[in-house]
Protein backbone atom coordinates (compact mmCIF):
# COMPACT_ATOMS: atom_id res chain seq x y z
CA UNK A 1 0.00 0.00 0.00
CA UNK A 2 1.27 3.43 -0.87
CA UNK A 3 -0.95 6.49 -0.95
CA UNK A 4 0.23 9.95 -1.87
CA UNK A 5 -2.21 12.47 -0.51
CA UNK A 6 -2.75 16.20 -0.93
CA UNK A 7 -4.94 17.97 1.60
CA UNK A 8 -5.67 21.54 0.54
CA UNK A 9 -7.86 24.42 1.61
CA UNK A 10 -7.64 27.89 3.05
CA UNK A 11 -5.75 28.88 6.17
CA UNK A 12 -7.77 28.05 9.27
CA UNK A 13 -9.51 24.98 7.85
CA UNK A 14 -6.98 22.77 9.61
CA UNK A 15 -5.63 21.01 6.54
CA UNK A 16 -2.09 20.81 7.95
CA UNK A 17 -3.45 19.40 11.19
CA UNK A 18 -5.63 16.89 9.32
CA UNK A 19 -2.50 15.62 7.56
CA UNK A 20 -0.64 15.21 10.84
CA UNK A 21 -3.60 13.42 12.42
CA UNK A 22 -3.63 10.94 9.58
CA UNK A 23 0.13 10.42 9.84
CA UNK A 24 0.09 9.80 13.58
CA UNK A 25 -2.76 7.31 13.25
CA UNK A 26 -1.06 5.44 10.40
CA UNK A 27 2.34 5.56 12.13
CA UNK A 28 0.87 3.96 15.24
CA UNK A 29 -0.46 1.16 13.05
CA UNK A 30 3.04 0.47 11.72
CA UNK A 31 3.01 2.40 8.47
CA UNK A 32 5.78 4.61 7.16
CA UNK A 33 4.50 8.17 7.00
CA UNK A 34 5.69 11.57 5.87
CA UNK A 35 4.05 14.98 6.05
CA UNK A 36 5.35 18.13 4.49
CA UNK A 37 3.46 21.42 4.54
CA UNK A 38 3.50 24.15 1.98
CA UNK A 39 5.54 26.85 3.69
CA UNK A 40 6.98 30.32 3.45
CA UNK A 41 5.92 32.58 0.60
CA UNK A 42 3.58 29.91 -0.72
CA UNK A 43 1.63 30.16 2.54
CA UNK A 44 0.80 33.81 2.10
CA UNK A 45 -2.49 34.62 0.44
CA UNK A 46 -4.64 32.29 2.45
CA UNK A 47 -4.24 28.89 0.81
CA UNK A 48 -2.57 26.04 2.59
CA UNK A 49 -1.82 22.46 1.70
CA UNK A 50 0.20 19.53 2.86
CA UNK A 51 1.64 16.50 1.15
CA UNK A 52 1.21 13.22 3.02
CA UNK A 53 2.66 9.85 2.06
CA UNK A 54 1.52 6.68 3.81
CA UNK A 55 3.25 3.50 2.78
CA UNK A 56 4.15 -0.05 3.72
CA UNK A 57 7.75 0.63 2.70
CA UNK A 58 10.24 3.42 3.37
CA UNK A 59 9.34 6.72 1.79
CA UNK A 60 11.68 8.27 -0.75
CA UNK A 61 10.47 11.61 -2.00
CA UNK A 62 8.20 13.35 0.49
CA UNK A 63 6.66 15.57 -2.17
CA UNK A 64 3.47 14.68 -3.97
CA UNK A 65 3.44 16.10 -7.49
CA UNK A 66 0.74 13.61 -8.61
CA UNK A 67 -1.50 12.63 -5.71
CA UNK A 68 -3.35 9.35 -5.64
CA UNK A 69 -5.77 11.02 -3.23
CA UNK A 70 -6.77 14.67 -3.03
CA UNK A 71 -8.86 16.14 -0.22
CA UNK A 72 -9.97 19.54 -1.42
CA UNK A 73 -11.63 21.92 0.99
CA UNK A 74 -12.17 25.08 -1.09
CA UNK A 75 -12.60 26.21 -4.71
CA UNK A 76 -9.11 27.68 -5.38
CA UNK A 77 -7.57 24.41 -4.22
CA UNK A 78 -9.81 22.43 -6.58
CA UNK A 79 -8.61 24.61 -9.46
CA UNK A 80 -5.01 24.05 -8.42
CA UNK A 81 -5.02 20.30 -7.80
CA UNK A 82 -7.80 18.66 -9.84
CA UNK A 83 -5.67 18.26 -12.95
CA UNK A 84 -2.77 16.76 -10.96
CA UNK A 85 -4.57 13.74 -9.53
CA UNK A 86 -3.34 10.40 -10.86
CA UNK A 87 -5.73 8.66 -13.27
CA UNK A 88 -7.74 6.21 -11.22
CA UNK A 89 -7.17 8.31 -8.11
CA UNK A 90 -9.62 9.60 -5.54
CA UNK A 91 -10.92 13.14 -5.10
CA UNK A 92 -12.89 14.08 -1.99
CA UNK A 93 -14.19 17.60 -2.35
CA UNK A 94 -15.97 19.79 0.16
CA UNK A 95 -19.25 20.55 -1.57
CA UNK A 96 -20.35 22.71 1.38
CA UNK A 97 -18.00 25.40 0.09
CA UNK A 98 -17.11 24.41 -3.46
CA UNK A 99 -19.74 25.65 -5.85
CA UNK A 100 -18.77 23.72 -8.96
CA UNK A 101 -18.51 20.07 -9.86
CA UNK A 102 -15.08 18.58 -10.60
CA UNK A 103 -14.52 17.91 -14.30
CA UNK A 104 -12.30 14.81 -14.25
CA UNK A 105 -13.98 11.58 -15.37
CA UNK A 106 -10.98 9.24 -14.98
CA UNK A 107 -10.95 9.41 -11.19
CA UNK A 108 -13.33 8.61 -8.37
CA UNK A 109 -15.04 11.80 -7.27
CA UNK A 110 -16.67 11.90 -3.84
CA UNK A 111 -18.91 14.76 -2.86
CA UNK A 112 -18.65 15.51 0.88
CA UNK A 113 -20.59 18.26 2.63
CA UNK A 114 -17.84 18.63 5.20
CA UNK A 115 -18.97 21.89 6.77
CA UNK A 116 -22.61 20.76 6.94
CA UNK A 117 -21.63 17.54 8.71
CA UNK A 118 -19.45 19.51 11.14
CA UNK A 119 -22.19 22.01 11.88
CA UNK A 120 -24.76 19.27 12.38
CA UNK A 121 -22.56 17.95 15.20
CA UNK A 122 -22.29 21.39 16.78
CA UNK A 123 -19.05 22.87 15.43
CA UNK A 124 -18.30 25.20 12.56
CA UNK A 125 -14.61 24.26 12.68
CA UNK A 126 -14.40 20.50 12.27
CA UNK A 127 -14.81 20.18 8.48
CA UNK A 128 -11.27 18.77 8.40
CA UNK A 129 -12.41 15.95 10.69
CA UNK A 130 -15.26 15.19 8.33
CA UNK A 131 -12.77 14.86 5.49
CA UNK A 132 -10.57 12.44 7.44
CA UNK A 133 -13.61 10.44 8.59
CA UNK A 134 -14.71 10.05 4.97
CA UNK A 135 -11.23 9.20 3.72
CA UNK A 136 -10.74 6.29 6.11
CA UNK A 137 -14.22 5.00 5.28
CA UNK A 138 -13.19 4.84 1.61
CA UNK A 139 -9.60 3.74 2.27
CA UNK A 140 -9.65 1.78 5.53
CA UNK A 141 -6.16 0.41 4.83
CA UNK A 142 -4.66 3.86 5.56
CA UNK A 143 -5.71 3.93 9.19
CA UNK A 144 -8.50 2.63 11.41
CA UNK A 145 -11.06 4.85 13.09
CA UNK A 146 -9.71 3.73 16.47
CA UNK A 147 -6.20 4.84 15.50
CA UNK A 148 -7.46 8.22 14.32
CA UNK A 149 -9.46 8.78 17.50
CA UNK A 150 -6.41 7.84 19.61
CA UNK A 151 -4.18 10.10 17.53
CA UNK A 152 -6.40 13.09 18.32
CA UNK A 153 -4.87 13.29 21.80
CA UNK A 154 -1.44 13.85 20.30
CA UNK A 155 -2.31 15.79 17.16
CA UNK A 156 -4.54 18.38 18.80
CA UNK A 157 -2.85 21.03 20.93
CA UNK A 158 -3.69 21.06 24.63
CA UNK A 159 -5.55 24.32 24.15
CA UNK A 160 -8.01 22.74 21.69
CA UNK A 161 -8.30 19.27 23.17
CA UNK A 162 -11.60 20.19 24.79
CA UNK A 163 -13.17 20.02 21.31
CA UNK A 164 -12.16 16.39 20.83
CA UNK A 165 -15.61 15.05 21.73
CA UNK A 166 -17.06 17.00 18.86
CA UNK A 167 -14.13 16.07 16.63
CA UNK A 168 -14.87 12.39 17.27
CA UNK A 169 -18.56 12.87 16.53
CA UNK A 170 -17.74 14.59 13.22
CA UNK A 171 -15.19 11.91 12.29
CA UNK A 172 -17.76 9.19 12.87
CA UNK A 173 -20.65 11.01 11.23
CA UNK A 174 -18.65 11.53 8.05
CA UNK A 175 -17.33 7.97 8.27
CA UNK A 176 -20.82 6.55 8.07
CA UNK A 177 -22.23 9.13 5.66
CA UNK A 178 -23.24 8.06 2.19
Amino acid sequence: MREEIIIAGFGGQGVIMAGKLLCIAAMNEGKFVSHIPSYGAEMRGGTANCSVVISDVEIGSPTVPKPSIAIIMNTPSLTKFESKIKPGGLLIYNSSLIDRKPERTDITVVDLKANDISEAEGSDRAANMAAIGKLIALKPEIASMDAVVTALDVAISARNRKYNDINIKVLKAANSSK
Binding site: K20, C23, I24, M27, N28, F32, V33, S34, H35, I36, P37, Y39, G40, A41, V57, E58, I59, G60, S61, P62, T63, V154
Partner: protein, 350 residues
Protein backbone atom coordinates in the same frame (compact mmCIF):
# COMPACT_ATOMS: atom_id res chain seq x y z
CA UNK B 1 13.43 1.32 22.03
CA UNK B 2 11.59 4.48 22.91
CA UNK B 3 8.18 5.48 21.73
CA UNK B 4 7.68 6.73 18.19
CA UNK B 5 6.41 10.26 17.78
CA UNK B 6 5.64 12.29 14.70
CA UNK B 7 8.04 15.22 14.57
CA UNK B 8 9.22 17.79 12.11
CA UNK B 9 12.87 17.56 11.03
CA UNK B 10 13.82 21.01 12.29
CA UNK B 11 12.22 20.38 15.68
CA UNK B 12 13.73 16.91 15.99
CA UNK B 13 17.12 18.49 15.46
CA UNK B 14 16.39 21.06 18.17
CA UNK B 15 15.27 18.45 20.68
CA UNK B 16 18.29 16.28 19.88
CA UNK B 17 20.59 19.23 20.56
CA UNK B 18 19.02 19.58 23.99
CA UNK B 19 19.38 15.84 24.58
CA UNK B 20 23.06 16.23 23.67
CA UNK B 21 23.49 18.86 26.37
CA UNK B 22 23.37 21.97 24.19
CA UNK B 23 22.25 24.83 26.43
CA UNK B 24 23.14 27.82 24.25
CA UNK B 25 21.69 28.74 20.90
CA UNK B 26 22.29 31.90 18.88
CA UNK B 27 20.64 32.44 15.52
CA UNK B 28 18.91 34.67 13.05
CA UNK B 29 15.63 33.86 11.29
CA UNK B 30 15.68 32.52 7.75
CA UNK B 31 13.34 30.10 5.98
CA UNK B 32 13.21 27.07 5.81
CA UNK B 33 14.88 26.52 9.21
CA UNK B 34 12.77 28.89 11.32
CA UNK B 35 11.34 26.06 13.42
CA UNK B 36 14.82 25.52 14.93
CA UNK B 37 15.15 28.96 16.59
CA UNK B 38 11.45 28.93 17.47
CA UNK B 39 11.83 25.52 19.11
CA UNK B 40 15.01 26.49 20.95
CA UNK B 41 13.45 29.75 22.17
CA UNK B 42 10.68 27.71 23.77
CA UNK B 43 12.67 24.74 25.05
CA UNK B 44 15.98 26.20 26.22
CA UNK B 45 14.49 28.28 29.05
CA UNK B 46 12.72 25.11 30.26
CA UNK B 47 16.08 23.37 30.71
CA UNK B 48 17.97 26.35 32.12
CA UNK B 49 19.58 27.28 28.82
CA UNK B 50 19.89 30.49 26.87
CA UNK B 51 18.34 31.36 23.52
CA UNK B 52 19.30 34.63 21.91
CA UNK B 53 18.10 35.99 18.60
CA UNK B 54 21.17 37.74 17.22
CA UNK B 55 21.23 40.89 15.13
CA UNK B 56 22.76 39.01 12.20
CA UNK B 57 24.17 35.67 11.12
CA UNK B 58 27.61 37.16 11.64
CA UNK B 59 26.82 38.17 15.19
CA UNK B 60 25.22 34.77 15.85
CA UNK B 61 28.28 32.78 14.81
CA UNK B 62 30.50 35.07 16.86
CA UNK B 63 28.26 34.61 19.89
CA UNK B 64 28.80 30.90 19.27
CA UNK B 65 32.53 31.64 19.25
CA UNK B 66 32.29 33.34 22.64
CA UNK B 67 30.09 30.67 24.20
CA UNK B 68 32.32 27.90 22.90
CA UNK B 69 35.41 29.73 24.20
CA UNK B 70 33.69 29.76 27.59
CA UNK B 71 33.36 25.97 27.40
CA UNK B 72 29.69 25.54 26.56
CA UNK B 73 27.96 23.21 24.12
CA UNK B 74 26.53 25.67 21.63
CA UNK B 75 24.71 25.65 18.31
CA UNK B 76 23.57 27.99 15.58
CA UNK B 77 21.44 27.21 12.56
CA UNK B 78 20.66 28.90 9.29
CA UNK B 79 19.87 28.36 5.65
CA UNK B 80 22.06 28.92 2.60
CA UNK B 81 22.27 32.74 2.31
CA UNK B 82 22.85 32.95 6.05
CA UNK B 83 25.52 30.26 5.77
CA UNK B 84 27.49 32.52 3.45
CA UNK B 85 27.49 35.16 6.19
CA UNK B 86 28.69 32.67 8.79
CA UNK B 87 31.82 31.75 6.86
CA UNK B 88 33.97 34.37 8.58
CA UNK B 89 33.09 32.88 11.94
CA UNK B 90 33.75 29.31 10.78
CA UNK B 91 37.27 30.25 9.73
CA UNK B 92 37.96 31.91 13.10
CA UNK B 93 36.46 28.97 14.98
CA UNK B 94 38.79 26.65 13.08
CA UNK B 95 41.80 28.86 13.79
CA UNK B 96 40.94 29.00 17.48
CA UNK B 97 40.14 25.25 17.66
CA UNK B 98 36.72 25.87 19.16
CA UNK B 99 34.05 23.15 19.05
CA UNK B 100 30.51 23.95 17.97
CA UNK B 101 27.60 22.68 15.90
CA UNK B 102 26.36 24.66 12.91
CA UNK B 103 23.27 23.69 10.94
CA UNK B 104 22.62 24.58 7.31
CA UNK B 105 19.12 23.68 6.11
CA UNK B 106 19.91 24.34 2.45
CA UNK B 107 17.59 26.16 0.08
CA UNK B 108 17.76 27.09 -3.58
CA UNK B 109 20.43 29.56 -4.68
CA UNK B 110 22.50 31.41 -5.75
CA UNK B 111 21.59 34.72 -4.17
CA UNK B 112 18.23 34.90 -2.48
CA UNK B 113 17.14 31.95 -4.62
CA UNK B 114 14.03 30.34 -3.20
CA UNK B 115 12.95 28.58 -0.04
CA UNK B 116 12.62 25.03 -1.34
CA UNK B 117 15.13 22.38 -0.33
CA UNK B 118 18.33 22.15 -2.37
CA UNK B 119 21.89 20.82 -2.18
CA UNK B 120 23.76 23.67 -3.79
CA UNK B 121 26.04 24.35 -0.83
CA UNK B 122 28.08 21.13 -1.01
CA UNK B 123 31.19 22.91 -2.26
CA UNK B 124 30.85 25.58 0.41
CA UNK B 125 30.37 22.94 3.11
CA UNK B 126 33.16 20.56 2.12
CA UNK B 127 35.77 22.92 0.69
CA UNK B 128 35.43 25.59 3.34
CA UNK B 129 33.80 28.90 2.51
CA UNK B 130 35.98 30.93 4.85
CA UNK B 131 39.62 31.91 4.46
CA UNK B 132 42.59 29.72 5.21
CA UNK B 133 43.60 26.07 5.47
CA UNK B 134 40.83 24.45 7.45
CA UNK B 135 38.18 21.76 7.45
CA UNK B 136 35.08 20.95 9.34
CA UNK B 137 33.13 17.74 9.72
CA UNK B 138 30.01 17.65 7.55
CA UNK B 139 27.14 15.31 8.48
CA UNK B 140 24.36 14.69 5.97
CA UNK B 141 21.12 13.36 7.47
CA UNK B 142 18.48 11.82 5.20
CA UNK B 143 15.50 11.48 7.54
CA UNK B 144 13.97 13.01 10.64
CA UNK B 145 15.45 10.15 12.65
CA UNK B 146 18.91 11.00 11.36
CA UNK B 147 18.41 14.73 11.87
CA UNK B 148 18.13 13.81 15.55
CA UNK B 149 20.77 11.07 15.77
CA UNK B 150 23.44 12.93 13.83
CA UNK B 151 22.86 16.03 15.94
CA UNK B 152 23.68 14.07 19.08
CA UNK B 153 26.76 12.66 17.34
CA UNK B 154 27.74 16.15 16.13
CA UNK B 155 28.18 17.52 19.64
CA UNK B 156 30.44 14.62 20.66
CA UNK B 157 32.55 14.87 17.51
CA UNK B 158 32.87 18.64 17.96
CA UNK B 159 34.16 18.29 21.51
CA UNK B 160 36.35 15.29 20.78
CA UNK B 161 38.26 16.99 17.97
CA UNK B 162 37.73 20.65 18.96
CA UNK B 163 36.17 21.32 15.59
CA UNK B 164 33.03 22.74 13.98
CA UNK B 165 30.56 20.07 12.96
CA UNK B 166 28.22 21.15 10.20
CA UNK B 167 24.88 19.42 9.83
CA UNK B 168 24.03 19.76 6.17
CA UNK B 169 20.31 19.22 5.68
CA UNK B 170 17.89 20.71 3.22
CA UNK B 171 14.50 22.40 3.27
CA UNK B 172 12.63 19.15 2.72
CA UNK B 173 14.33 17.49 5.69
CA UNK B 174 13.67 20.57 7.77
CA UNK B 175 9.98 20.68 6.93
CA UNK B 176 9.10 17.00 6.75
CA UNK B 177 7.39 15.29 9.67
CA UNK B 178 8.14 11.60 10.13
CA UNK B 179 8.21 8.95 12.79
CA UNK B 180 10.96 9.62 15.30
CA UNK B 181 12.35 7.70 18.22
CA UNK B 182 14.20 10.27 20.30
CA UNK B 183 17.87 9.38 20.75
CA UNK B 184 19.44 8.85 24.15
CA UNK B 185 22.23 11.07 25.45
CA UNK B 186 25.62 9.42 24.94
CA UNK B 187 26.85 10.48 28.37
CA UNK B 188 30.32 11.27 27.04
CA UNK B 189 32.11 13.98 28.98
CA UNK B 190 34.89 16.09 27.52
CA UNK B 191 37.23 18.10 29.71
CA UNK B 192 37.90 21.62 28.43
CA UNK B 193 40.98 22.89 30.28
CA UNK B 194 41.44 25.48 27.55
CA UNK B 195 38.11 27.21 28.23
CA UNK B 196 38.01 30.84 29.34
CA UNK B 197 36.65 30.61 32.85
CA UNK B 198 38.94 33.12 34.56
CA UNK B 199 42.61 32.54 35.44
CA UNK B 200 41.97 31.22 38.93
CA UNK B 201 44.72 28.93 40.14
CA UNK B 202 46.19 28.55 36.68
CA UNK B 203 47.98 30.53 34.01
CA UNK B 204 45.70 32.66 31.84
CA UNK B 205 44.10 30.88 28.87
CA UNK B 206 44.17 32.60 25.51
CA UNK B 207 41.87 31.79 22.62
CA UNK B 208 43.34 33.24 19.46
CA UNK B 209 44.09 32.48 15.84
CA UNK B 210 46.55 35.31 15.21
CA UNK B 211 50.05 33.86 14.86
CA UNK B 212 52.39 36.64 13.74
CA UNK B 213 55.84 35.88 15.09
CA UNK B 214 58.05 34.00 14.68
CA UNK B 215 57.50 33.28 10.99
CA UNK B 216 56.83 29.57 11.31
CA UNK B 217 54.25 29.50 14.14
CA UNK B 218 51.25 29.69 11.84
CA UNK B 219 52.50 26.83 9.71
CA UNK B 220 53.08 24.80 12.86
CA UNK B 221 49.55 25.45 13.98
CA UNK B 222 48.19 24.53 10.55
CA UNK B 223 50.21 21.33 10.57
CA UNK B 224 48.76 20.48 13.94
CA UNK B 225 45.27 21.13 12.56
CA UNK B 226 46.15 18.89 9.63
CA UNK B 227 47.08 16.07 11.99
CA UNK B 228 43.63 16.40 13.56
CA UNK B 229 42.01 16.44 10.12
CA UNK B 230 43.95 13.34 9.11
CA UNK B 231 42.87 11.57 12.27
CA UNK B 232 39.25 12.49 11.55
CA UNK B 233 39.62 11.27 7.96
CA UNK B 234 40.88 7.91 9.12
CA UNK B 235 38.34 7.42 11.91
CA UNK B 236 35.13 9.25 11.13
CA UNK B 237 34.12 8.44 7.54
CA UNK B 238 30.49 7.38 7.58
CA UNK B 239 28.33 6.02 4.80
CA UNK B 240 25.67 3.47 3.99
CA UNK B 241 25.99 0.88 1.24
CA UNK B 242 22.54 -0.39 0.25
CA UNK B 243 22.39 -3.43 -2.01
CA UNK B 244 25.79 -2.57 -3.43
CA UNK B 245 27.53 -5.96 -3.27
CA UNK B 246 26.30 -7.17 -6.62
CA UNK B 247 25.26 -3.76 -7.95
CA UNK B 248 25.88 -3.26 -11.64
CA UNK B 249 24.41 0.18 -11.42
CA UNK B 250 25.38 2.27 -8.45
CA UNK B 251 23.58 5.41 -7.37
CA UNK B 252 25.51 7.86 -5.20
CA UNK B 253 23.64 10.50 -3.23
CA UNK B 254 23.12 12.05 0.19
CA UNK B 255 20.25 13.65 2.10
CA UNK B 256 16.88 13.99 0.43
CA UNK B 257 18.17 12.89 -2.97
CA UNK B 258 19.39 9.63 -1.42
CA UNK B 259 15.82 8.87 -0.30
CA UNK B 260 14.62 9.22 -3.85
CA UNK B 261 17.49 7.01 -5.02
CA UNK B 262 16.63 4.35 -2.47
CA UNK B 263 13.05 4.26 -3.74
CA UNK B 264 14.41 3.92 -7.29
CA UNK B 265 16.76 1.09 -6.25
CA UNK B 266 13.88 -0.80 -4.62
CA UNK B 267 11.74 -0.50 -7.71
CA UNK B 268 14.60 -1.42 -10.05
CA UNK B 269 15.40 -4.51 -7.96
CA UNK B 270 11.75 -5.58 -8.24
CA UNK B 271 12.20 -5.38 -11.98
CA UNK B 272 15.36 -7.49 -11.80
CA UNK B 273 17.85 -4.68 -12.35
CA UNK B 274 20.91 -4.96 -10.08
CA UNK B 275 20.93 -1.43 -8.74
CA UNK B 276 22.43 -0.24 -5.46
CA UNK B 277 22.83 2.94 -3.47
CA UNK B 278 25.89 4.43 -1.82
CA UNK B 279 24.81 7.14 0.57
CA UNK B 280 27.10 9.64 2.30
CA UNK B 281 26.58 10.23 5.98
CA UNK B 282 29.74 12.33 6.20
CA UNK B 283 30.45 14.59 3.23
CA UNK B 284 33.71 15.57 4.91
CA UNK B 285 35.54 13.36 5.54
CA UNK B 286 34.37 11.90 2.25
CA UNK B 287 33.99 8.10 2.56
CA UNK B 288 36.17 7.43 -0.48
CA UNK B 289 37.36 3.95 0.45
CA UNK B 290 33.85 2.68 1.12
CA UNK B 291 32.62 4.17 -2.13
CA UNK B 292 35.45 2.53 -4.02
CA UNK B 293 34.46 -0.84 -2.55
CA UNK B 294 30.77 -0.29 -3.28
CA UNK B 295 31.53 0.59 -6.89
CA UNK B 296 33.69 -2.46 -7.70
CA UNK B 297 31.10 -4.27 -9.80
CA UNK B 298 29.34 -1.21 -11.13
CA UNK B 299 29.20 -0.71 -14.88
CA UNK B 300 27.81 2.73 -14.35
CA UNK B 301 27.78 5.09 -11.37
CA UNK B 302 25.00 7.66 -11.37
CA UNK B 303 25.54 10.60 -9.02
CA UNK B 304 22.22 12.18 -8.07
CA UNK B 305 22.13 15.62 -6.48
CA UNK B 306 19.80 18.53 -5.90
CA UNK B 307 22.37 20.72 -7.61
CA UNK B 308 24.01 20.88 -11.01
CA UNK B 309 26.89 18.68 -9.91
CA UNK B 310 29.11 19.26 -6.87
CA UNK B 311 29.52 16.00 -4.95
CA UNK B 312 30.26 14.32 -8.30
CA UNK B 313 33.78 15.72 -8.12
CA UNK B 314 34.46 13.72 -4.96
CA UNK B 315 32.84 10.65 -6.52
CA UNK B 316 35.12 10.87 -9.56
CA UNK B 317 38.16 11.25 -7.31
CA UNK B 318 37.21 8.17 -5.28
CA UNK B 319 36.43 5.43 -7.78
CA UNK B 320 38.52 3.53 -10.27
CA UNK B 321 37.65 4.17 -13.91
CA UNK B 322 35.89 7.46 -13.27
CA UNK B 323 34.58 7.50 -16.83
CA UNK B 324 31.82 5.29 -15.37
CA UNK B 325 30.52 8.25 -13.39
CA UNK B 326 27.44 9.96 -14.77
CA UNK B 327 25.23 12.70 -13.36
CA UNK B 328 21.58 13.50 -12.84
CA UNK B 329 20.62 16.56 -10.87
CA UNK B 330 17.83 19.04 -10.35
CA UNK B 331 18.52 22.54 -9.16
CA UNK B 332 16.80 25.57 -7.70
CA UNK B 333 14.69 23.65 -5.23
CA UNK B 334 13.44 20.99 -7.65
CA UNK B 335 13.65 17.30 -6.71
CA UNK B 336 15.13 14.48 -8.77
CA UNK B 337 12.40 12.05 -9.88
CA UNK B 338 12.37 8.33 -9.22
CA UNK B 339 11.05 7.63 -12.72
CA UNK B 340 13.84 9.60 -14.36
CA UNK B 341 16.49 7.77 -12.31
CA UNK B 342 14.97 4.43 -13.37
CA UNK B 343 14.80 5.52 -16.99
CA UNK B 344 18.47 6.45 -17.02
CA UNK B 345 19.60 3.25 -15.30
CA UNK B 346 17.61 1.13 -17.72
CA UNK B 347 19.05 3.08 -20.66
CA UNK B 348 22.57 2.07 -19.57
CA UNK B 349 21.59 -1.57 -20.02
CA UNK B 350 20.59 -1.08 -23.65
Amino acid sequence: MGKQILMKGNEALGEAAIIAGCRFYFGYPITPQNEIPAYMSRRLPEVGGTFLQAESEIAAVNMVFGASAAGARVMTSTSSPGMSLKQEGLSYLAGAKLPCVVVNIMRGGPGLGNIAGAQGDYFQATRGGGNGDYRHIVLTPASVQEMAELTVLAFDLADEYRITVLILGDGYLGQISEALTLPEPTGKVFEKPWALTGAKGREPNKIASLKLVPDHVLEEMNLSLERTYNEISSRECRSESYLTEDAEYLLVAYGTSSRICRAAVNELREEGVKAGLFRLITAWPFPAAALKRASLKAKKILTVEMSLGQMIEDVRLSVDNPERVDFYGRSGGMLPETEEIKRRIKAYGN
